[in-house]
Amino acid sequence: MGRATTIPFGPQHAAFLEPLNVTLTLEEEKVVGAVLNQGYNHRGMEHALSLDYRKSQYISERVCGICSFHHSTAYCQGLESIYGIDVPERGRLIRTIMMECQRLTSHLLALGHIAESVGYENLFMQCFRERELVMTLVNRISGNRVHYSMNVAGGVKRDISPEGLKDIQATMSRLRPRLRELHRVFSRDRTLSKRTKGIGVLSNQAAREWGNVGPVSRASGIPRDIRQDGFAAYSMVKFSPIVREEGDCYARMMVRMDECLQSMDIIEQCLPLIKDGPVAIQMKGHPKGEAYSRVEAPRGELVYFIRANGKTALERIKLRTPALMNVASLLAMLPGCQLADVPTITVSVDPCICCTDR
């Protein structure tokens, strides 16, 4: 023994939803080296987005299916700050509600995926069952389950009716006990915590060095949440970032679980704030200038850099997706772990390869 074997983990692997390749060097079943290969899903989104600024909000949703609304919000916010306009309050609140709904679906997907990666099929199914409540809710509100196509530069193009607001409230009250039950299972289940506690530890120092964002960094004790900057309507609601210190898979899982409950709180805080008024304002002329736009996507800070030069085509649009930073930090977590823990660790950073590769 002691002879190292190399095994390809992916790009087609049962643990991954999307093509990512980790070439592992194993000694017996201990991982001694890891190399990341990505780019199986590279579609040249940055080029596609820069073709026509009026159509790009729809295309930016297609960067990634599970944080589509965050992508289009980031894009529209960028254009709005180039134009120098403020979105009406109702529009901002609707955006916030939709973003939190999407955070719920995304986090429940990630949680289910973690459960699946340790072979806990039942818990996986329960996560997806509760997720379906939110999915059908957003389907009723926006007209689609995944790509809402609600954002336009200047606001949102689809208003929420009073019945819709009641529907949201009703769904949240239905969802809350179910998520509490899930929270209980995730935090208490002994076999699950045996597989996640102390696995894939990312220290605070390492998280800072690798520039991790989102739940991964918050699980390593970095209290940074872009929502605190108060984009959209986040300045109108009260919340504090959820931080844990352990930095292992369990912490990342629980940060997501707690954020689900927090998302529901934020949605319920938003609902009474919604007042009658316009949801969008029209913008005139082609954009000229440049802007950074940041939103807190489910996976972390999503940065759009837009530079426009007064033409239909944007000069440059740059996406820095959260998964790009988080997936890279796998290299810090994988060496030294067991082969059995590789799926759990890779999945616990929530690798959205569509985002990573763009």
Binding site: A14, E121, N122, M125, R129, T191, R195
Partner: protein, 286 residues
Amino acid sequence: MDLLAYALQVLTVIVAPLVVGLAMGMDRKITARMQNRRGPPVLQPFYDVGKLLSKRPMLLSELQATFAGAALLFHAAALALFVSGSDLLVTFFVSGTGSVCLVMGAFSARSPYSFIGGQRELLAILAYEPVLFLVVLSIGMRSSFLVGDIQGGLLHDLPLVLLALVPVLVVLLEKSPFDVPTAHQEIISGPYVEYSGPYLAILEVARWFQLAFVFGMVTLFFWSGDAVISIAGKLALAFAALFATIVIDNASARLTRENMVSFMLIAGIGLVAINLLVLFILKGSI
């Protein structure tokens, strides 16, 4: 031996794996219902095997086919020996050889996943075979090693031994927490990964034979003079064991190799030992 009894035995060897296949379908249905899903039809395992058989055969090495066939033969032989009422020990070893054939088949393909799967399968054999062996020994010592001579009283005397068979079934049915050798999220079904088409179907049928043997051991624990009550009780006992594994599967995550080996050896051997000890104290003999 008269002809009728002989025909009955042949029929049992053919029907038993089919019953196991049906049980697998029920397993999938019950699992689905526990997860609040509808699940596939009960006959799905047969559809699967039929589909696999209709596919184009592909192999990495000729040896794979040999070992797949050998696994099927050994498991079938074990079941035949069991049904014909011969020595339980011999049956046990023949069945064990079948399991080793699966490992050899995994090792004969040059694939890292298959190799790791083979290693893990060996480890699993190391974990569950001692427990199974002790169960065989305690049945033999309590009653008789010849299957044909075993009569009632086992359930009454050896309840913990029966309980020790449940984790063994968890491993054999490839259910969490001990589906380590075939963990598809980790090593993509381990020893089976390089098999496809008809050869995978052969391995699946071999597994049914193996499970028929192990479930057969479970059914030994119930015996009654009346044939109808006897068969009904045996089936009920086997179903109870299956249901227990399904419940365990749906309430736990997969554990690691080390957990599997230590749990199987400590809990399995411990349960058998406690049972025998109590029996010895109460009755003065095993």
